[in-house]
């Protein structure tokens, strides 16, 4: 019993592989009906499936494939010309074959799925017997009523009988040679199968059949006849490849992920060590080990990624058939041109892009390409073209769907959307053409005048968007009315280990998948405008929505930004958004780790990663953040302006921080500043000063810093303060008794603005402060 199961499994694997190819071949056949090679290939598929299914007692499938084989055999021998009508029937029967195979996979037999084949069989018979073939009965005869000879010898007479009529001498030669090979292989297979644990089951299940009825006899033979050479032919190839469970590869990928994190960590530690032990001999050695390790890790990562790669052909192959059916259904003439189908993608992604592509291509055929009449009037060739291109671009694969149809009409799209209440008129007015194009991705939108079988239900393109978003992909639409439309899908090659841009907001860091980052710019806050309560940035000829990362994630406000700010522009599917961050840290390879069930599905967070320094950094879910950004209504400009331009009317609005551990020194400084009338705040050491600064309670105009202090000295304090972009220009005045040149140099290095040496006159100090805070 188990043996049978195993054989059925093998049969299904083989059959599914075969029918994947057959669709493609059949459509090609329609274009080149003379291609004997193609016909033979298709015939072999039907034949193999028939043989195996009869062996496994799948009678319905056997009957269907048998009739298909008849038709194909005729075509192969040039007794039948393949017309589109015949092809329709053949394709339909291929679909049924698929249905039956699925049924077998799911139920273990071909009757439970309830596919009725008598009608299609009748039509197939009609084709094979019909019309111009006078010898209609002869060729069918040998198949239906074969010689009642014992199984092993059956194939020879049957084939010769059938072939006699049409085979040339050479073909006969070839046929004989083939049969000899088959026999040999068969013997081999038999010997091999005896080695298997229970050969009895196989032989007994196979043996009675040929005797019981005459019809299966031929089929059984056909089976041996065809299937065996396929196996023996594959034997050579089999040594080159191994089937591996995807689960194992996933596990391997996870392990590599850990390795990559380890590598990052090691690199970081090496940097620290290098700083500390500069010039030491062992560093050189360590350097070598670290760099070779990191090199190998990268190689392993690439190698494992490659094992998971599949050519996009896997997805593309079903489209010729789809286009053919669509063009017949819609009464249009459409050519599909595929290029770059050998481009490879991670398996998980290949599985995800199938649906979106189906929808896009359907859309192109239904809405894009016009009917022949319209096309002729427009001066275009009657036959429309849909191009499907795939190519690599950096760490991405780009899939382009180009049609030469009527193109998207921005004005019409806007009008429709207003009609359907998807957008308001005001929104429509503010929209650029590109934004208008992306309206087609809104749920509930359809431009088809009537709902056809093909599209118009307003679900399709919405699905495209969600699926591409899921993959962190980007959709770009270009279109010109009357010329056609280009849809570009840009998808990352892999999902497990990704490149990211690390950004900082206040004191927190986040990783943005680099695949979604379009560019980063540094802009003055004067360039930020508020329209309708939305913050926008004018960048070149585009208007971008803006949001602060700290607003999205409710980050604690520790310090303010300067009058310049960084904007990271991200793109998801068809939309764009500018994110304001305080710092750009750099690019880093990260591995996405889940935060466990407890913290699943946190809005805006896709997961976490562990950085080189061992800290956890959260990864932004770009698509979700786009949604969150819509809810945020903060007038960034006004807030920033308020922060940076605190109006100072009287001297006491100015604030100076005095940092010194000596009470006396603080008093002297305070006394010196009294004449200016500024507000003075005191701190006794660097740590305290930093806490006061970070608390944001006061905004200081200058800081007087003693160098020698407990807990944190003046140099360190100055360095820490300068780390914040907001304080880049804050006057830091060192007040110290250290007078050597190296001390002064060090002061300049850490960013001191002025250097006052003790003792000093009160007037001097007062003037320096006055000058630095620009007190009138």
């Amino acid at each position: 019993m188990d043996d049978m199961k195993e054989i059925t499994q093998d049969f299904l694997v083989e059959a599914f592989e075969l029918i994947e190819q057959i669709d493609h071949d059949l459509v090609e056949l329609e274009a080149n009906p003379e291609d004997l090679e193609l016909l033979n290939r298709i015939f072999r598929v039907a034949h193999t499936v028939k043989g195996s299914s009869s062996f496994l007692n799948f009678d319905v499938l056997t009957k269907l494939t048998h009739h298909m084989e008849d038709v194909l055999n005729k075509a192969r021998k040039d007794e039948l010309k393949i017309t589109p009508d015949i092809m329709d029937v053949v394709l339909e029967s291929v679909d049924m074959m698929k249905g039956l195979l699925h049924g077998i996979r799911d139920h273990g037999n071909d009757t439970d799925v309830g596919i009725e084949i008598s009608d299609i069989c009748a039509r197939l018979i009609a084709i094979s017997e019909g019309d111009e073939i006078p010898t209609a009965s002869t060729p069918t005869e040998p198949v239906v009523t074969p010689e009642p000879e014992p199984a092993p010898i059956a194939p020879e007479p049957e084939i010769s009988d059938e072939a006699l009529s049409s085979l040339s001498d050479d073909e006969v030669e070839a046929e004989i040679e083939r049969l000899l090979k088959v026999r040999k292989a068969e013997d081999q297979a038999r010997r091999a199968s005896k080695g298997i644990s229970s050969p009895a089951t196989t032989s007994t299940s196979a043996a009675p059949k040929p005797v019981s009825t005459s019809k299966p006899t031929t089929k059984k033979d056909d089976d041996g006849d065809k299937k065996v050479p396929a196996q023996s032919g594959g034997a050579v190839a089999q040594e080159q490849t191994i089937r591996v469970e995807v689960k194992r590869l996933d596990h391997l990928m996870n392990l590599i992920g850990e390795l990559v994190l380890g590598k990052n960590r090691l690199l970081k530690i090496y940097d620290d060590v290098e700083e500390r032990y500069e010039g030491e001999k062992f560093l050189e050695e360590l350097n070598q080990v670290v760099s070779s390790l990191s090199l190998v890790t990268t190689d392993i990562q690439l190698a494992v990624m490659k094992t998971r790669m599949l050519p996009v052909a896997k997805v593309f192959n079903k489209f010729p058939r789809m286009i053919r059916d669509l063009s017949r259904e819609l009464g249009k003439q459409i050519d599909l041109e595929i290029s770059g189908e050998e481009t490879e993608l991670d398996k998980s992604i290949v599985e995800e892009i199938g649906d979106p592509l189906v929808h896009i291509i359907r859309n192109s055929c239904d809405h894009g390409i016009e009917d022949p009449e319209t096309r002729r009037l427009a001066g275009k060739p009657e036959k429309g073209t849909v191009e499907l291109k795939a190519y690599n671009e950096g760490n991405h694969i780009v899939i382009e769907i180009v049609d030469d149809g009527k193109g998207l009409d921005a004005a019409m799209l806007k009008m429709k959307s207003i009609e359907k209440g998807i957008i308001t008129e005001r929104e429509a007015d503010a929209m650029s053409d590109k934004e208008a194009f992306s309206l087609i991705f809104r749920p509930g939108f359809s431009t088809a005048a009537k709902v056809t079988n093909v599209s118009g239900r307003g679900v399709g393109m919405d699905v495209v968007k969600t699926n591409i978003e899921k993959l962190n992909g980007i959709i770009d639409i270009e279109s010109e009315v009357g010329k056609g439309t280009i849809m570009k899908l840009k998808i990352p090659l892999t999902l497990a280990i990704i490149q990211s841009l690390l950004v900082g907001t206040q004191e927190e860091f986040y990783a943005i998948p680099l695949a979604s980052v379009l560019e980063t710019v540094r802009v003055p806050i004067d360039d930020i405008y508020t329209i309708d309560g939305k913050n926008v940035l004018r960048l070149r000829d585009e208007v971008l929505s803006l949001v602060r990362l700290s607003d999205v994630f409710g980050v604690n406000k520790v310090f303010d930004g300067g009058d310049q700010t960084y904007v990271v522009i991200i793109g998801v599917a068809e939309a764009k958004l500018g994110i304001i961050v305080d710092t750009l840290v750099g690019q880093e390879e990260i591995v996405i780790k889940s935060m466990g069930d407890y913290l699943q599905n946190i809005p805006g967070i896709a997961g976490a990663t562990i950085r080189g320094d061992g800290r956890v950094t959260l990864i932004i879910d770009v698509a979700a953040m786009m949604e969150m950004a819509k809810e945020i209504k903060v007038n960034i400009r006004a807030e920033m302006d308020a922060e940076s331009k605190n109006v100072k009317e009287k001297p006491s609005d100015y604030k100076v921080l005095i940092v010194d551990d000596s009470k006396m020194d603080r008093t002297i400084m305070q006394k010196s500043l009294e004449p200016t009338g500024v507000t003075v705040i005191e701190a006794t050491n660097g740590v305290e000063a930093l806490t006061i600064i970070k608390s944001g309670e006061h905004s200081f105009d200058a800081i007087l810093i003693d160098i020698e202090m407990p807990r944190m000295d003046g140099y360190t304090l100055a360095g820490e303060i300068r780390k914040y972009s907001k304080y880049r220009n804050l006057p830091l005045i060192a007040v110290t008794s250290r007078t050597s040149k190296t001390d002064r140099l060090r002061g300049v290095e850490v960013g001191m603005t002025e250097y006052i040496t003790k003792p000093y006159s009160s007037e001097y100090l007062e003037n320096v402060v006055r000058k630095n805070i620009k007190l009138p």
Partner: protein
């Protein structure tokens, strides 16, 4: 004399060995800790480890008792502040603050506690079900353990590890 003592000791040891076997079903082992003023305990089998406080990363859009996530030897683990969870006043971390990493079948998380006390063995029949007034408290309490000097609240780890936001 010494022989006598030795025998006594041996006798005692023997008793100790036998005791847990005959009553192992009734004894549960707990680890006690203090949060705020109160002493709590959780079954020792639910504890993966206890570590000193380490740096954590804040996670946005979560209740305030979820402090964030931390890196436990390559695993990203949520960190929950039990003081805030029990609606107590927050206090600064001290030298005795610890993270207890608890796990059940599905989940794992770290919990911030103020101080560890001791490992406790308690007989099951000395544990009372939680009083009615406390049951409504999200069912976080497994029972009240009665001890000679004090009582302790035994927490239900499954409930602590269950996300309720």
């Amino acid at each position: 004399m010494s022989n006598n003592k030795l025998n006594e000791v041996l006798q005692k040891q023997k008793q100790q060995i036998q005791e847990p076997i005959k009553s192992s079903e009734d004894i549960i082992q707990l680890v006690g800790f203090v949060v705020g003023e109160e002493e709590y305990a959780i079954p020792i089998l639910n504890i993966q480890e206890i570590i000193k406080p380490i740096e954590f990363t804040r996670v946005p859009s979560v209740p305030d008792y979820v402090l964030g996530v931390f890196n436990l030897r390559g695993n990203v683990i949520p960190l929950i502040d039990l003081r805030k969870r029990f609606s107590l006043n927050a206090s600064k971390q001290s030298a005795s603050t610890r993270y207890i990493v608890m796990k059940d079948e599905e989940n794992i998380a770290g919990f911030v506690i103020d101080r560890l006390t001791e490992a406790i063995r308690i007989n099951r029949n000395r544990i009372d079900p939680p009083p009615e007034t406390l049951v409504k408290d999200k069912g976080m309490i497994y029972g009240i353990g009665k001890r000679d000097q004090n009582i302790l609240t035994i927490l239900k780890v499954e409930a602590l590890l269950k996300r309720d936001f």
